[in-house]
């Protein structure tokens, strides 16, 4: 059985009372959701003038992401298709307003008023046809079209999503572009399988300098893989045991791990988003031999 909830049941059925409660009582999920929405809000790049904005939370669920919006002092309107999830949100007394609705049917909102939209792990649901009347392409078109209309000019929309494969990612992105959005995908920690997170960052309006996609985390160009030429190969010797046929290169590093090796390893771990102690003059130094 797949671990992807999209493949198990439609959202309004999958997130029933039991699942909704489970979702919100798991501190692990709550933590991840808070982290994701914090990052999504960061990517939304709202002007830093202290004025609360009106944001849209698409697929707000039990209001975990909305809580982060409230903490940042903004007003929000949440939309979700699962009544059970919204009931949990009511119990948690979230600050935003909740609407029971299906994003695939288009957002029924007046045009040009919303200052930004976020969505955490929701948009990939649109790619499924759960009912006979569902046509994923039409639903994506309706969703992105109506979103484009209701956002103000220059407003951003940030969707965190888990696309199943490359085709799905391209499908979602192509419909966003067709609706008129500019932007692209930002991938945080692309080298890590666990911390890797994808965000679709879209801007209302034609592409310009201000709509350039922001930089991802843990992706510092030179960080890993490319600097193999320098450093730790200085002690390498080619050992020829057979006069006629040179064997494969054998590393003869009696000294163990060198400083360069350690630094490279640390850099790689950093790019995966792990917590790594800073480099200092003590890095990779040998301990004193005590008796």
């Amino acid at each position: 059985m797949s671990s992807r909830p999209e493949l198990q049941a439609p959202p309004e059925i999958f997130y029933d009372d039991v699942e909704a409660r489970k979702y919100t009582s798991s501190s692990r999920i709550v933590g991840i959701q808070a982290e994701l929405s914090e990052r999504a809000l960061e990517l939304l790049a709202l002007p830093d003038d202290g004025i609360p904005r009106l944001l849209l939370d698409i697929g707000c669920g039990s209001g975990l992401s909305g809580e982060t919006i409230s903490e940042n002092g903004h007003q929000w309107i949440g939309l979700d298709i699962s009544r059970s999830m919204l009931d949990v949100a009511l119990e948690r007394e979230t600050d935003g307003d909740l609407i029971l609705g299906d994003m695939g049917q288009g957002l029924g909102l007046r045009p040009g008023l919303i200052d930004g939209a976020i969505s955490i792990s929701a948009v990939q649901w649109l790619c499924n046809a759960d009912k006979s009347c569902h046509e994923p392409r039409l639903r994506l078109k309706a969703f992105f079209g109506s979103l484009y209309r209701c956002l103000g000019r220059g407003a951003r929309a940030v969707f965190q999503l888990y696309p199943e494969n490359n085709a799905q990612r391209e499908l979602i992105l192509s419909f966003a572009m067709r609706a008129g959005f500019a932007g692209g995908v930002v991938i945080d920690y692309p080298h890590s399988s666990k911390k890797r997170k994808e965000y679709l960052v879209l801007t209302c309006g034609p592409p310009s300098l201000s709509t350039a996609t922001p930089r991802a985390k843990g992706e510092d160009g030179s960080s890993c893989s490319d600097d193999e030429s320098s450093g730790d190969e200085e002690n390498q010797t080619v050992c020829i045991s057979d006069r006629h046929r040179p064997r494969k290169k054998q590393k003869l590093t009696k000294k163990g791990k060198t400083r360069a090796w350690v630094l490279k390893k640390k850099e790689k771990m950093r790019s995966k988003g792990n917590v790594v102690p800073p480099d200092s003059k003590y890095t990779a130094r040998k301990r004193k031999a005590h008796f």
Partner: protein, 123 residues
């Protein structure tokens, strides 16, 4: 549901040209205290459809707002801002319905959550 949301929502039924504003059928209205923030109100003032807000707040039992779009100079008056704040953010429609002005389709509101799900033939 606050009147802020009501002011944003419009009917999304296929073929409806002007689904705004949705008519409110109020059965139960509650008031919840919200922090007063003049910056947000000033930001929202230009975006709000005033007539819809004034009408809606009347139906919700708060007839203090002027019928006509007030001059933006009123935004400096604290009294006006407090009224605006109360109508926009503190009045909640708890039970009732929203009715599409063109087709008359009812969207029920339960526990403050409007059900905007459309039937298959309305998409």
């Amino acid at each position: 549901m606050r009147l802020l949301t009501h002011n944003m929502l419009s009917s999304n039924i296929k073929g409806v040209i002007n689904g705004f504003p949705l008519r409110i059928e109020a059965e139960r209205v509650v008031e919840k205290q919200v922090d007063f923030n003049p910056d947000f109100l000033k930001n929202m003032f230009s975006k709000i459809d005033w007539k819809a807000l004034a009408d809606a707040s009347k139906i919700m039992g708060y007839p203090e707002l002027p019928d006509e779009l007030p001059d933006s100079s009123l935004l400096d008056s604290d009294e006006f801002l407090h009224k605006f704040h109360h109508a926009l953010l503190e009045l909640h429609l708890e039970e009732g319905a929203l009715v599409c002005p063109e087709t008359g389709r009812r969207f029920p509101v339960n526990k403050g959550i409007p059900n905007m799900l459309l039937h298959e033939d309305e998409v």
